[in-house]
Symmetry: C2
Subunit: 395 residues, 2 copies
């Protein structure tokens, strides 16, 4: 018996499975057939190092507070506790970016915010880089939006620019350092995008989830670029910076200057969050605050440096083998051209079968990703070295 209600038909236009579910299934099948295989996962962008001690203590202290009537907390403010919004604002001081705490909206994840922001926007034309993090595309397809792709490729270093794009208003997604390519826009390139947005009245949604991996002279926040406050929502996360993938905390910045007609974009986001969200757990907000403290930053930095060294080790091998790649510095990702002109999923199978190394097929990030492959530096040092040694023999 079937219900007679209507479903959101736009869901038919997204693939049935999320990319990483497909990979998990393939790996499961392989490991069931080869129970003794020592599989090394350099696929999904998930951290492996434990939470920093100061973060663990903050959770435990907050749990104790929640266990006493005098210090118990019920519903949190929907946009985050002031202590955390202010800590995030102070974090931006390091980049000489001045934000008011009220412009910062705390949430349970960059993925949630990236996915949910579609809610407050109308039927705009969408510009999405290809290849890119699948959520930008999927969340727009689910809302029936018209999506155009701006292609990343070897010629532009996987950093598509607005040259030749018709000058009209868009919602533009930019991720830098990029997932999956690891490529990072220079300040000059970001300025070109900001100028394009200002000229056309476009909104940029800037995903800075990997900014902590930047060591070179690149912008950590797009608000380092003049006038970006007038055209950009920036979304960032504790996931990679502080190992919060399983702890869940992020923020979005809606500067006061973001206005459509007489409406502030932040007002719509506030209304959305107040209606469909109920705040981040108190214990998690205290954990995030601790991660941003001086002591927390020093401890979290050690983990980031550890991953950066892993990336360097993988990059060294690729260079030695003459394999063309982007990323590997200023990013936890390495984006390589599959050797011998192999296709992405073929190379996935090739690595799984011959080296028991799991990566992510570039085609999973968009058509322009075909023939490419993503490796990540989030493994342990030991497994990264072992993977590199296996790849050294195989390739």
């Amino acid at each position: 018996m079937s219900l007679n209600i209507k479903l959101n038909e736009n869901y038919s236009s997204v693939k049935n499975n999320y990319l990483f579910s497909d990979i998990a299934k393939k790996v499961k099948t392989y490991s069931e057939a080869h129970p003794n295989a020592k599989i090394i996962r350099l696929g999904i962008g998930d951290v492996t190092l434990p939470l920093a001690p100061v973060v663990v203590n903050a959770i435990k202290n907050a749990a104790d507070e929640m266990g006493k009537a005098e210090t118990f907390r019920g519903y949190a403010p929907e946009y985050g506790y002031d202590f955390l919004r202010e800590a995030v604002a102070r974090y931006y001081d390091k980049f000489s970016v001045s934000l008011s705490a009220s412009e910062i909206f705390i949430s349970d994840g960059a993925k949630s915010d990236v996915g949910n922001i579609v809610d407050i926007l109308g039927d705009n034309e969408i510009l999405i880089p290809d290849p890119v993090y699948p959520v930008y595309l999927d969340s727009n397809l689910m809302s029936g939006r018209k999506v155009s792709f701006i292609s990343g490729n070897q010629q532009n270093g996987f950093l598509p620019m607005p040259d030749g794009i018709p000058e009209k208003p868009y919602v533009i997604y930019i991720c830098s350092p990029n997932n999956p390519t690891g490529a990072v826009y220079s300040r000059a390139q970001l300025k070109v995008w900001v100028d394009f947005a200002l000229k056309t009245g476009s909104l940029i949604i800037f995903d800075s989830a990997y900014e902590a991996f930047i060591s070179g002279d690149y912008s950590h926040s797009i608000y380092e670029i003049n006038e970006a406050r007038k055209c950009v929502v920036e979304i960032c996360s504790f996931s990679k910076t502080a190992g919060f993938t399983g702890t869940r905390c992020a923020w979005s910045v809606f500067p006061d200057e973001l206005i459509v007609g007489d409406k502030k974009l932040s007002a719509l986001w506030s209304r959305r969050q107040a209606t469909k969200f109920n705040g981040v757990p108190y214990v998690v907000q205290r954990a995030a605050e601790a991660a941003l403290s001086d002591e927390g930053q020093a401890q979290c930095r050690q983990s980031v440096e550890y991953y950066i060294e892993n990336a360097r080790i993988i990059a060294e091998l690729l260079t030695k083998k003459g394999i063309s790649f982007t990323g590997g510095e200023n990013s936890p990702y390495l984006w390589l051209k599959c050797p011998g002109g192999m296709k992405s999923w073929d190379f996935f199978d090739f690595l799984l079968e011959n080296a028991q190394v799991v990566g992510t097929p570039g085609a999973g990030f968009g058509n322009a990703g075909e023939g490419y492959f993503r490796l990540t530096s989030f493994g342990s040092r030991e497994s990264t070295l072992e993977a590199v040694s296996r790849l050294d023999k195989l390739l």
Copy 2:
């Protein structure tokens, strides 16, 4: 300077502020003008008793796990860890309802699920009780849906039934025990709704957030009603049952029988959550699991009983004063007719100014709520008794 992009114009049709933001502002203004006033808040439905000891310990143990490389957890499964999905399934055994763990989707809140479920549904006609929890209406208005109201009133005991409603497919929201009226549908009444849904091919979204307050012979889960699995998504929460308003955990049940054409509703929800959500914090899922353990249930039950006794105390006063009300048993809410034919917001001001007691104006829950007022039993015993004593003098 304005952006030229289009916003979701449907946001213009919802009120600018969430009801409880309006109340908070009024109270703030009053307390700034009367700094010595001892305000008692019986307004928002927020718990005040601390987390149960077994829950606090679970958070602390999980935090320790997250602090060690061997036991650290990254991204959680998007639909919840099996240990929690299975614990929720076992919880339903108490009501003789048999659910598979795979039908249970863990989330960060019933508000999130109630708000986000609109995402996967098409342009259906919506039936919403009036008065009711504002999120049902607001989330549908934000998606541009056509909403019809089914009116609760003194004649039907604030339990609207489908009599006289044209027989066609709807998405129907039901909340029982009801927020804000505290009224509870009998099994026979729920069966009438389920039969109506089955006959018309309608989907019922059943909000059972307050089921823990039921002590009489009412259904804790709508799946206690025969064939409800074919037409109901049930959404429940740890917020009121285990004091999780600031800890954030809930679940939605998508039975396998919920099918539209060849599509399972659960498949669309899975796709939505995998795209726009990234799971509940590990430490919170362990906390929720602990709340469902035998020890946790015993500890949480004490808090619920405490609130129930508060409700009884308030109900006693209203009865003494001859004020007509629903709720006060099987519910943390008391829904009363404003004395002397006062309007809701006038009575709000009257109580705030003359007794420094904050309640919630019934009009905030819909037009049919005009002339009514909600009190909650979530205060401390002391403040509840003090409020009752003040109201006893005033009314």
